[in-house]
């Protein structure tokens, strides 16, 4: 009984290490074969339609509502101190630094990441990938690399759209609905949001999240057991793992980026 459980533990550890090694090799292979993604850019554009354009609706609507809620809640707290004119700063800083990249990444992981995993997992289960290999077409170059670069390009654009939409939502609620002074809203925002410190760091974050989510989604799909159950398990793992990785990476990146600022 005890021996059995120790054996299980060891087995699972070895499996985990094996998977990490395979994931690293896979990631390297994707990077090495990414020439195809740019030489045949049509493939990447096609994938950008599926990962980027089709995620637009959920990203824009969530951004708008997150911004509107920030406007409402921020106003509630700020007006106690009579500083509701800084509402713009609150909305813009929290969106550009944190909520934009992170929430957009979480939505991206569940909208696009799961789709990528399911698609590649099913391609593997129906032996389309093996068929490609038979025809001397490298599936990593033809299928995986374009999806990877499409995700990496789409993610920062989606995060920027999320932030812009959120600020618009905050403006709608704060200025149009509640009646915070419009000039104060924009000028306070402009004076305290720094382009390099806040906006560029937010963009860097979203690029990192894009790389992490797409790499995880592609790997889970490529590694999925070729059964219906295996593909569904891999899809679930993609969403769970990439959400956790996004949150952990966000903490690490924030600790590096915003240490110097008051």
């Amino acid at each position: 009984m005890l021996r059995q459980s120790i054996e299980n533990l060891g087995n699972r550890t070895i499996q985990g290490v094996w998977r990490i090694g395979f994931a690293a090799r896979f990631f390297l292979a994707v990077l090495l074969h990414s020439g195809t993604a740019f030489r045949r850019f049509g493939l990447t554009i096609r994938e950008m339609y599926f990962t980027g354009v089709l995620s637009l609706i959920i990203i824009l609507v969530s951004g708008l509502f997150v911004g509107m809620v920030l406007g409402l809640q921020g106003y509630e707290t700020l007006q106690r101190f009579g500083s509701e004119s800084t509402l713009g700063t609150l909305v813009a800083l929290s969106l550009v630094r944190e909520l934009g990249p992170v929430v957009a990444a979480l939505l991206f992981a569940s909208r696009a990441g799961s789709a990528i995993t399911a698609e590649i997992g099913l391609m593997k289960a129906t032996e389309q990938l093996s068929a490609m290999e038979m025809m001397a077409v490298d599936p990593i170059a033809r299928v995986v690399a374009p999806r990877f670069w499409a995700g990496v390009i789409s993610m920062p654009l989606l995060a920027a759209l999320f932030s812009a939409m959120g600020i618009f939502g905050g403006y709608l609620v704060g200025v149009q609905l509640i009646g915070v002074d419009e000039g104060a809203f924009w000028s306070q925002m402009k004076s305290s949001v720094d382009f390099e410190q806040d906006i560029m760091n937010g963009v860097i974050k979203s690029v990192v999240f894009g790389i992490a989510i797409t790499a995880i989604a592609l790997f889970e799909g490529y590694d999925a057991p070729p059964t219906a159950e295996g593909v569904s398990g891999a899809t679930t793992r993609t969403v769970v793992t990439s959400s956790l990785v996004v949150l952990a990476l966000d903490f690490v990146l924030t600790a590096f980026m915003f240490r110097g600022i008051s």
């Binding site: 096609r46 980027g52 354009v53 812009a164 949001v193 720094d194 382009f195």
Partner: protein, 155 residues
């Protein structure tokens, strides 16, 4: 799959994303006001800087003319050495005075510059001699209470 329609959508998506980035850059954020290339640094020493922080604005007549670049402590005179990075477009006389002020009652602290009458202008790495420390609320209240106590004391 109709290829041209797809390309159009992706193109629109990329343009919208870049437009959002531009909106963030131009309307929401502002570039760090003073770049190292077109600025000069002057040093001011204060007895007490209160809650002044690096990157706090330096204002003259209410206009932002620079930022606080660095705050250090001089272990010989026991003063705070504040390095101010000022925009090259603005020149100030040598006898300009610097004071640490607060915007509003509880707002952020900034350095206020008041121009003097000297015909020599401040150059890079010059020092501002006339300084006025931050007002510490506790000291002010202490003085007020002390003054009140003196008033009420029997002669």
């Amino acid at each position: 799959m109709n290829k041209t329609v797809l390309d159009l959508w992706v193109g629109l998506f990329v343009i919208a994303g870049i437009a959002a980035l531009l909106f963030l850059a131009l309307k929401v954020g502002s570039a760090s006001a003073v770049k190292a290339s077109n600025s000069y640094e002057v040093i001011a020493r204060f007895d007490n800087i209160g809650g002044l922080k690096p990157r706090a604005p330096v204002k003259s007549a209410g206009v932002v003319v620079g930022r606080v670049a660095d705050i250090g402590f001089d272990n010989e005179t026991y003063e705070a050495a504040v390095t101010l990075r000022l925009d090259k477009r603005y020149a100030f006389p040598k006898d300009t005075s610097a004071a640490i002020m607060t915007s509003g009652l509880l707002g952020e602290q900034y350095v206020g510059l008041e121009a003097g009458g000297d015909d020599q202008m401040l150059k890079d790495q010059d020092r501002i001699f006339l300084t006025q420390s931050a007002v510490v609320l506790e000291n002010l209240i202490g003085q007020f209470i002390y003054g009140k106590a003196q008033e009420g004391a029997p002669q």
